[in-house]
Symmetry: D2
Subunit: 137 residues, 4 copies
């Protein structure tokens, strides 16, 4: 499966009084990476909506936090499809940063995000267009 | 002019790595108080929209920060109208907390928020209904 | 197991351009309920930290979204402990609202949040004090 | 005076149920630009703090909203110093996007942000180091 990487910087807005990135914000980081991935494939969200009458919505999220991210950290957010259903996709994502101790990046947070392809008005599940799947996997 | 007070609690989500409430969040706190003020007068936002085709939008904000708020603080958010225009209102607001040193509350942040009454589709200014103004002032 | 319920209101700040509550914000809602639950039992976070040198951090989150919440909705957030480890707790939570169709509340989002009891400086796991567990379950 | 420009993209997290960027978020956008400006001059925030025992905090903000930003918009955030005090700076900022109608960018939001240079522990005002001012203006 293809993997997409999106870099982002941690700002004050992302942190909490523990001095680290507030854990809910990884869902934002992961979404930015998915959005940029789709955009890099030629799919901007309002164009998709206009052309197909459908959109992706998040139906499940699962996050595991291993190490904290700090103010000013530059993180790498990854995304790859790990399961393809008729009307849904499972995407595995990580937030990592270069470790000071080794050459290996340090994984801070791992997520599994399930998104469903639904009709805009009714939110009813719909079959994901083949060309979208082909470009993602 | 009438004054409305709304209490709220500071949670982790509101703080930043400085250990204090992130300054942008006072705009959220002030809006919660305005919303609850309007609701207490019988104006919920979607009812107003449905009945009048108009809504309030924020056109100007001005904030002055004097002291920080901390995790777990219980704040009092005040709101009162200080100027009434044909299609806009100026609302002065404060965030304060009981001072440990005196009986007087400690003002942490003062804001001046200008809101405009506009048509929902076009965002064109519209005359604020008299009954709304009468209940607010 | 005991269940705690915390009511909260949906404001503009909680919504996104889809017209519904942004899905990451349920993690904030769930945390507010856990915080108020602990506070209702006499445990405020900075007192716990000062007395024990330890604190709870979130180590895993799992959310399932069933129905959207809208601006102005009043939600009920529930929390109950479903598993007790030496240094961690699993808490199941829901966000629900009264359904227009039935008397039963409509569950919008279900979450499973695992929190770990760790030493403040090192973030090393530590044994959760018995009195905390006894009050929660 | 020098002007710094930082591009950023509007994501779901930035929008509200009005279908536009939530107005409080421009304070976040403006801060990202200031942070990147300082970083581009060699001043990262924790290095400054370690070397001088001081930091910048926001003391006043003033925002005027002219046009809405939408999901997927790419915005340009500008920043320039317009006033230099002994212990504070006034920074004027704009958020703009290319207009579909003309070649001129459309200014969506204008802000005036006053930041104070304070000692980390006490938050007492302190004289801004000359080299910082020289690089900014």
């Amino acid at each position: 499966m293809k993997q997409f990487i999106w870099p982002l910087r941690v700002y004050w807005e992302d942190t909490d009084a523990g001095g680290i990135v507030f854990y809910a914000n990884y869902l934002k980081f992961f979404e930015r990476a998915r959005t940029e991935w789709f955009r890099s494939l030629g799919y901007s969200q309002h164009v998709l909506k206009a052309e197909t009458g459908c959109m992706f919505i998040v139906s499940h999220t699962q996050l595991k936090y291993s190490h904290p991210a700090m103010l000013d950290d530059e993180l790498h957010i990854s995304a790859k499809v790990t399961d393809v259903g008729g009307a849904s996709l499972v995407i595995e994502q990580t937030a990592s940063k270069p470790s000071p101790h080794t050459q290996e990046p340090l994984i801070l947070c791992e997520g599994t995000i399930k998104i469903a392809w639904v009709q805009v008005g009714t939110l009813k599940p719909s079959r994901i267009p083949k060309d979208i799947i082909q470009r993602l996997i």
